[in-house]
Amino acid sequence: MPDQHDAPTAAADGALLDRHRRALQRSATVRSRHDVPVASRPFLSVITRTTGERETLLDTLLCLAAQTDDDFEVLLMVNARDAGVPAEIAALVDTFAPSFRARVRVDSTSIMHRVAPLNRALAAATGRYVAVLDDDDLVFADWVETFHRHADEHPGAMIRCRAVDQSVELADGTGVAGATSGFSAPYRPTFEFASHLIGGQSPPATFCSPLDVIDALGLRFDEDMVVCEDIEFFLRLATVCGVVDTSTFGMVYRRWETRFSSGHTVSPEIWEASMQKIVQHLDDVPLLLPEHSATRMYQAAAQERQMYELDAVIEALRDRLAPTEFDWSSPADAVRYLDQEYLAVVADRDHRRHVVEEAAAHPFRELRRWAVACVRHLLK
């Protein structure tokens, strides 16, 4: 008999769906956040946190000022140790055109936890949807327009655009961020829930989320998390709202080569712990999965079975093979040993080249598959 954790009750599912429905009704009809009439609410609230990096923030604000759809507000959350920074940022905003700067609200906080300004902005936002744009992100001119169009077609859903990566570094002397690479597109073209549990597949600014649903769920960014608070937030929301993919590349995620960033300063252990926390949070609630999830779960299960098969074969081989310097408790070492054996007896270079190319595309899965082939060959 399955335990309660594995089998959420129908009542729990019903309550979840009711909550979702109520939120969508609120979003689509007359009720609005904080009693602001719907007609007065902008489509989007853009939340941007900054510690005062004026040069990169100028680029980001310029991208916003150049949007083809101006139905948005900007909540600029200044979180700086230096008391003079908020005034500098406000002055920077004032240099922009009146039509743009009238839509920017500068909010100053003093050394709050880095996540706290996000929740403060969520509370202050008046948009029907919300997006988080970092102060070094760049967006294309149709970023808001694309979100808006898809949100109108799919009310209540999260909208996701695509992103490219570009390496940047601060140029000596000027302090300006300069690109050092072209674009790469490392993120999945479509949203897939499971892949986000393993690694970042969507920079925050790729999402546009319905604010009324966020309110109805009482959802806030987890201020106990050091990193990955955005992934946690968006995945929890995605289980309720679903995600509509757009094929449009909406943003450039700038990857810093040298500048201080969480990618450089947070240990792998903290990253892993954060991801585990996300899984724990998701374990606490029943999940609605998107279409095609059954196929992906089947494929994952098949892969797991294959891995189990490999482990069993390695166990059987252990006594037969000569002692080596390899640690047999380490699957990686076992595979490495088997690889050497395989190379010694197999001369089919074309096949090997094909396998290597495949392995490069799908390293983990194909490495396992390759190892199975090695073992089978040795057993002949």
Partner: protein, 304 residues
């Protein structure tokens, strides 16, 4: 900063071709910020903003020009005008026509699909040293990969999407060449002629301009068929002018063997205009500054 005493006067030139009006409004809003910032700092004075219209029919009504004027210059201090060319002069030809109709110390050439940042003009002005004929800006969100000296900003050429030019320098080399029609490489050609004449051209990384370019389905800066055609045609023009008949020959061969329909149209246009004598003439000795071995016509920092 310039050869004239006191703050320089600046003429802003925008050549349009059937652009959406809301696009021009965004440009106008950006212009307002840049002019306000520069004028307040006393870095320049006497702005003239000129739209040159290459559209088949007049793009801007009087009311449209009034609206742009209101956005660019709410205090009514500067001159804002629009000229209908009644012909498609291309980017180089249109820029040259506007240049001849003005008399400001400096010329700021802008694409209609750009939005200037508040500080872009001040930053370009700051780099306009006495030996400098042209300064261009850093584009976002797609940064141009052309190389430049990080200390001096010195570059092989400057991009015409947003560039500040010294009138005396460009007039001394004959200005824009309208034969680089319809577009592309009129800026490379002007840069190389300025350098041949002893001037420096520079890139200001601190000067930021938004340029509304998008990515294709593969996440790469996209180019339309027309842009591909113009790219090949302008490459042939450059190769002819800058003493590289081998590049002309190789390019035409490549088009014949591997080119698309757009490339073949470009090759056919080149051959026809060669017969008509409507191509840039070769300049003896000009190959000294040219770099036709690079796709980017000079050193590049990275590739897209």
């Amino acid at each position: 900063m310039t050869s004239t005493a006191g703050p320089p006067t600046i003429g802003v030139q925008i050549v349009v071709f059937a652009n959406p009006f809301d696009q021009l409004c965004r440009l106008a809003d950006g212009l307002e910020t840049a002019i306000r910032h520069t004028a307040a700092a006393g870095h320049a004075e006497g702005f003239e903003i000129a739209f040159g219209d290459s559209s088949p029919t007049p793009l801007l009504s009087e009311a449209d020009v009034d609206e742009l004027r209101r956005r660019i210059d709410p205090l009514g201090v500067h001159r804002v005008s629009s000229t209908f060319f009644d012909a498609n002069l291309g980017s180089g030809g249109g820029s040259q026509r506007l240049l001849e109709a003005s008399a400001t110390d400096l010329i700021w050439v802008l694409n209609p699909d750009t939005v200037p940042s508040p500080t872009v003009l001040s930053e370009m002005l700051a780099m306009m040293a006495a030996d400098t004929a042209a300064v261009d800006a850093r584009q976002v969100p797609i940064e141009h990969p052309a190389g430049f000296d990080p200390d001096t900003g010195e570059a092989a050429w400057v991009c015409g999407a947003c560039v500040l030019l010294r009138r005396t320098a460009i007039e001394s080399v004959g200005g824009f060449d309208p034969r680089f029609f319809p577009m592309y490489c009129d800026d490379v050609d002007l840069s190389w002629r300025l350098r041949l004449d002893g001037w420096k051209v520079r890139h200001s990384a601190r000067a930021t301009v938004f340029h509304d370019k998008r990515l294709d389905a593969d996440g790469r800066p996209g180019a339309s068929e027309f842009e591909h055609e113009s790219g090949v045609l302008s490459r042939l023009f450059l190769a002819r002018r800058y003493e590289r008949p081998d590049v002309v020959e190789q390019t035409l061969e490549w088009v014949d063997v591997r080119g698309t329909a757009s490339h073949r149209r470009a090759a056919a246009t080149y051959r026809a205009r060669l017969v008509d004598g409507d191509v840039p003439e070769p300049m003896p000795g000009a190959g000294l500054v040219a770099n036709l071995d690079s796709d980017y016509y000079g050193p590049n920092r990275f590739r897209y």
